[in-house]
Symmetry: none
Subunit: 218 residues, 4 copies
Amino acid sequence: MSGAGAGAGAGAGAGAGAAPPGRERARRPGGRTARNRALVLDAVRAQLLEHGYDGLSVDSVAERAGVHRTTVYRRWRDVGGLLADLLDAARDDDWAAPDTGSLTGDLVAVNREVHEALTSTPSLTTALIAASFRSARAASALRDFWEDRYRRCALIVERAVLRGEIPERTDARRLLVAATAPLYHQVVLLRVPTSVQFADQAAHDAARAAVAGVFTGP
Amino acid sequence: MSGAGAGAGAGAGAGAGAAPPGRERARRPGGRTARNRALVLDAVRAQLLEHGYDGLSVDSVAERAGVHRTTVYRRWRDVGGLLADLLDAARDDDWAAPDTGSLTGDLVAVNREVHEALTSTPSLTTALIAASFRSARAASALRDFWEDRYRRCALIVERAVLRGEIPERTDARRLLVAATAPLYHQVVLLRVPTSVQFADQAAHDAARAAVAGVFTGP
Amino acid sequence: MSGAGAGAGAGAGAGAGAAPPGRERARRPGGRTARNRALVLDAVRAQLLEHGYDGLSVDSVAERAGVHRTTVYRRWRDVGGLLADLLDAARDDDWAAPDTGSLTGDLVAVNREVHEALTSTPSLTTALIAASFRSARAASALRDFWEDRYRRCALIVERAVLRGEIPERTDARRLLVAATAPLYHQVVLLRVPTSVQFADQAAHDAARAAVAGVFTGP
Amino acid sequence: MSGAGAGAGAGAGAGAGAAPPGRERARRPGGRTARNRALVLDAVRAQLLEHGYDGLSVDSVAERAGVHRTTVYRRWRDVGGLLADLLDAARDDDWAAPDTGSLTGDLVAVNREVHEALTSTPSLTTALIAASFRSARAASALRDFWEDRYRRCALIVERAVLRGEIPERTDARRLLVAATAPLYHQVVLLRVPTSVQFADQAAHDAARAAVAGVFTGP
DNA sequence: AGATAACCGAGACGGTACGTCGGGTCTTGGG
DNA sequence: CCCAAGACCCGACGTACCGTCTCGGTTATCT
């Protein structure tokens, strides 16, 4: 739900989630492997931000990471593997759906996050989307990432139900997609310049529809 | 709205007598030049269908069209130019929004067309979407194509207003996007297997929301 | 003189109990270490026969022998070391020069052996020759092997002198080279298809020249 | 007969034999192709001399020639192709067998040439021989080269017959091989340090055998 | 019989070279 | 004015071997 970039950027640095379990003594090898992973994933992020997907070659990543080409090929096989690993790492974060006290507030918050992720230039998220069209592995990892985000966002709907804002049988996924899809559509597919007001409007529309009981039943 | 492929796939030799892509000065529109354009665009379509966007190289198109590489480079410059020309040609068709007598019926009809265009394998439409992430020219042409389709679909909303199904001040574009975006989102971005029921549901949801007056006002 | 392959191919597990290659300190000649040596040398022979010298990589040998890469690197250092060890093992056989009762007969017998070793397909001998151009260690081992063979063949000349067939002061080495060199030349360097008749002819020519006293004096 | 290097080295420089036919105006292209060939073949020669066959990679040649890797691959396919082209060019020279007035003198002259070609360090000839074991194309070209040389040397035998030095039915090829093979054998295969006296001796032996009528008959 | 040094399996790594594909430029020559 | 042909430079691909390194686990021989 939130742009992939948000989460993906979180784990940057020395490979917080990729560190070896246990001892810190990254003498030479032993730690080298883990350090290389961090170096490479950082390089992928940086390269993606600076030059977009088309500037993302195994060679450029390897050079940027200060690691040998063949090492990258050995462990990640190709660009898709790099992206998949990046997305997998991004999934291991602690992102949580916003909790503003109202359905509309939560949806607006989510959509603003998405808007930010999609329209910031350069946008890691759009680069990853572009990548997903070229690599099956990246596509799969991106799908998993989004599924994870939608699952976490289900909380928003549950809370709204508990508060009595919307009918009990509201389909969470359908509502969330109704709120976010127009934004993605506008920015990613139609490529129309899109203001944050558009994001807010889509959130409001979805909330009102939910209140009207649109997302219940078949 | 309808998949780009529908229109684009229509006529094989569609562009035979059509105007050349960008330049106004139609110096030599007849004879070999025009024939080559048709041959090349046909080859682009065929190559896209058979091998997807990644199998679309200037070389492969040229060979398939029986034309020399340099000829393609000279007139279309790159793959993006080929796709842009293809989409421009596709926009010159006579597609019209469905007219079933009810808002829901119309939206369902549109969404089924989209569903078909997106899930047929191979899908020209998804290939074009993929292409739009690699080529600014293709992206621009695809955007123009879609804007054209949404404009034609505005009729659906106008008729529904005239019939008194939905409030007078309903925002046509917002409604149409609400109906179609979830479908694109699901298929193109989330890559979740999607049945035609999902398409129908999205159409129904949007129609109900419109009836509830969601798409009026700010 | 005889093709290197003859001796080298003799015993499968030829080196099982033999001394380790270079080092004097036979620290642990028994058990796994010795078994590994036999496995590896067998793999070298087999690989050489099946794929020639160019198919002989440390990796392929290790895999074929069921031994780890690093084990091979540790003990033999590189491909040249493997070949040198193989040739050293081959020199420890009981090959003896033929004894047919006449100089011509002996030379013909030798040349037929050489011919067989060089023209059998696949030919271990030619593979070893090829190898000798790439590895100094292999070249040295091959030279030692051949010197050993020529030394053993000197008997042929001594016997011919005793029988009074050729002058007393005949230079054994010169005669033997005169008999065999054309065969090697033809097959190995000129790469001309060569029949066994050619081998016989070279033997006869050398014998006649010896009888004529060509290989005496300076 | 003469070492391959002798001839091959002759054409060095600006590609004397490889120049385009006709006009000298190697402006840019047109002449570029021919100039590239000369540059590349020169680089092959130089690289072979400096680093031997094992230092001869397509990459190193391309870099040395100041030409792009892919250009070399396109025109010569691999290292074997480079060597074959080099040898083909070498065959187009005007080398002629020596004519000293006596069979022994001619053979000695030839053998000294061979000796020089084989023992000069670095030796282009031995590098080419080594190469011929790795590349079928190089082997074939080298064979053709040598066949050409033996054919030219047949004159030596014919003249000796005319002078009445040797029997009329002497087999030229057999005699020439008998004279030169021991030298190649000693230097190339046995790798024994070899003086020019050895070359002279082999020539004398062959001449004496020829006089004795060894190379007539079956 | 146990200690210990030699050996081995495992696997990542940096590195050279391979041969191929595609992109995009350029020039010649012919219609 | 257009086009066919084809060489070229260039970046990138993914693979094969090479030789090195460190780790942890066996195993043969010595004490």
